[in-house]
Assembly symmetry: C2
Homo-oligomer: 199 residues x 2
């Protein structure tokens, strides 16, 4: 006979559906949530609901925000002549961590991928082209991932943007800082040689 | 300037508080929850609340259940003469997985640990002694973990139970199945020799 405490099983299942959480971790997380004081568990549940309710896409750059226009787009200190195009809101966080980039962003929310039935219409391409009407934009950096889809999306957008009299650039390829030549793959190494600069 | 989408930050923080979830995983989980359809997120939040509301301790064995008396205690097929004492509801799940044990359980919800200020009163010891009044109980298996606290708790309970005219046993120590003598620690190996059986 199989014994089943349904509410507990359901909680374990919910955690199991999260990415990177296996059966054992899901069980551990479920028990942890059960062990929480009631208010803490309520707070956890509310935070999930609140995030879903309040977070939406910025009307300008499509990054996630709880305002109409996100803080980055609102910030008058930032360089409004550069737009960095990324796949995902997480990429914005990664680039912001460098504390070096002061321009604006545009989040595509995906990459063109005919295999998965994702075309430009499913991404925020129209919104990007709309922003080009603002004459202050002088450069668009393609910061999509260096994968097949990332490259294809960058190429596609570059072709659309170039006639609009804007400089289109791509992130540099090369060996990662702290990396090891020995372990770099051929394509990366080739790109690193190709993109060499004078010292 | 630091940009902050508060509902998102709060969600990441909630996940970060879970055991074994670091900063990166918490971010990934938060974004995953945000990407869920609204109903799925609602379901997730409700499952957390429901589990907290419905799950309580079984009136008999103190295991977690959504009923007054848990399914194992209710099951008349099980051997009511043996009670297996464990630290935690997870241990019940582990032992049930063997599909070999058919007796009942008693969940202590912790171990005696003077260092952490946990004495017998904080555990379900009183409830265990209460169950001894039932004359059908002939054996109590101490299945606490083989740690200092687990051993101490087992010894403490054994001393309480023995005068009650009940057989008290302890799980066998030894090398784990599939294990390797070479990597077994000395105490385990010594206990394995001590507990050897004829073949």
């Amino acid at each position: 006979m199989k014994y089943d405490v349904l509410p507990l099983t359901r909680l374990v299942e919910q955690f199991e559906r999260l990415p990177g959480i296996g059966k054992k971790s899901a069980q551990r997380l479920a028990f942890h949530v059960l062990d929480m004081p009631k208010e803490k568990a309520q707070q956890f549940a509310n935070t999930i609901l609140e995030a879903h309710e309040k977070i939406k896409k910025c009307a300008v750059c499509q990054n996630l925000t709880d305002q109409e226009v996100c803080q980055i787009c609102q910030d008058q200190q930032r360089d409004r002549s550069i737009i960095c195009v990324v796949e995902d809101p997480r990429d914005v966080i990664a680039i912001e961590r460098t504390q070096e980039y002061t321009g604006l962003y545009h989040v595509l929310h995906g990459l063109i991928s005919p295999m998965n039935g994702v075309g430009p219409d499913q991404l925020s391409v129209r919104e990007l082209l709309e922003r080009m009407k603002d004459e202050t934009v002088g450069e668009v950096i393609m910061a999509t991932n260096p994968t097949v889809e990332g490259e294809a999306t960058a190429m596609y957008l570059a072709r659309l943007l170039k006639p609009m009299n804007v400089k289109v650039t791509r992130l540099a390829y090369g060996i990662p800082v702290g990396g090891n030549l020995e372990y770099a793959d051929e394509v990366t190494l080739y790109r690193a040689i190709e993109g060499r600069s004078e010292i």
